[in-house]
Point group: C2
Chain length 206, copies 2
DNA sequence: GTCTATAAGAAGATAGAC
DNA sequence: GTCTATCTTCTTATAGAC
């Protein structure tokens, strides 16, 4: 049931694996369990399916952005927590971020699809950048700024500290997207990275 | 002249911009200044052109790897230099690495092509990883290891230090690949990153 | 809404003249 | 080696029955 929705799901799966041009409407239909012509009762073209995927993505992304900004510009509703940010808490933060990005089915497929299609359409590279570079940096910068204000991290440049925190996560993520078998290795590096990060930026007496 | 070579160049340009499936043999021929059927006197199929690009890439990459390893496993023939590694030298190193990767025409096109095609062929993602993740980390690790041995950097984990040095460069690179207009911004961040890196890892008295 | 049959057009590749 | 003409196959999309 809800064939219209299933079409979007199966199309996204295929687009993320092979790219738009290498997926045929018949492939999508087959995964849904119908024949190609039946697709056209739900969407008027292959491009319309792709557009619908992007529209849903935009919607989700905006909802998420809204949820993170409940109280206006500040991304963290409960700032008190971050005055007690320990190495373990940092580890948890980094790991959960990494594993969410890596394993969340929808997020992973969207990221792969945007990666494949990015150079064909500026709109897609813009979305990718916003989702995996600018927004994470903004959000984590605000978060780590609070931790710094709380005295648990020390720096005179929160943005660069955030870059130092996030960019290894980003790089390891692109590594695991390409080769999932390297996830254990990536997790080890991630852990070592964050411990080192805490040593470099953390309060010296804690 | 040398139509065979020009075909590879124009094909790489197109593949890197639009991806294999979205480039038609007629497009390649048009850029070379001939008609599609003439292509087939030089290569027996479109796939053969793609394979030839990869073969040339492998060749170049191996040559480069060899050049970096003149004296066996050690990547740096002249290690003395790195005992005098200053912040300015680090900046130069990081910037030149970044700008080479970003602007070298061939390297950039190969990287974009591999980025687009990576999920369709494990061989391609492997090459990408080797070129832009594993090899740079290995090489820089050896280099920064020498600097550390020389006393100009301090760490108990050279690999993580290298990750901290390189991953921001990598992330900024993927950013500029997607949106070249952000290069000035990226260069500013790169500079701030390396200065901060030197503060964090550099000899405290220098 | 799903199907079969089929139209319409694109794209890779070949034939054969020059 | 390059061209024009053409073949073949693949792919999107439509027509019309059920």
């Amino acid at each position: 049931m809800d064939t219209k929705q299933r079409i979007l799901e199966e199309a996204l799966t295929l687009f993320s694996e092979k790219g738009y041009a290498n997926v045929y409407v018949g492939d999508i239909a087959a995964r849904v369990g119908i024949k190609a012509p039946s697709l056209y009762k739900h969407y008027k073209s292959k491009q319309a399916i792709f557009n619908a995927i992007l529209a849903k993505m935009d919607e989700r992304f905006m909802d998420q952005a809204k949820a993170l900004n409940i109280n206006g510009a500040n991304p963290i509703p409960d700032a008190e927590i971050y005055k007690h940010m320990s190495e373990e808490k940092l580890l948890e933060l980094g790991k959960s971020l990494f594993l969410y990005y890596l394993h969340d089915d929808y997020t992973q497929k969207i990221r792969k699809m945007l990666t494949i299609e990015q150079f064909k359409d500026k709109r897609l590279s813009d979305v990718y950048m916003e989702m995996y570079v600018d927004e994470p940096l903004r959000y984590q910068s605000a978060l780590l700024g609070l931790v710094t204000a709380g005295g648990m991290l020390t720096t005179d440049n929160v943005d660069i500290m955030t870059l130092h925190f996030y960019s290894p996560i980003y790089m390891l993520l692109t590594m695991c997207d390409r080769d999932p078998s390297r996830e254990p290795e990536a997790l080890k590096m991630l852990e070592a990275h964050i411990k080192q990060f805490d040593k470099l930026y953390g309060r010296k007496d804690k």
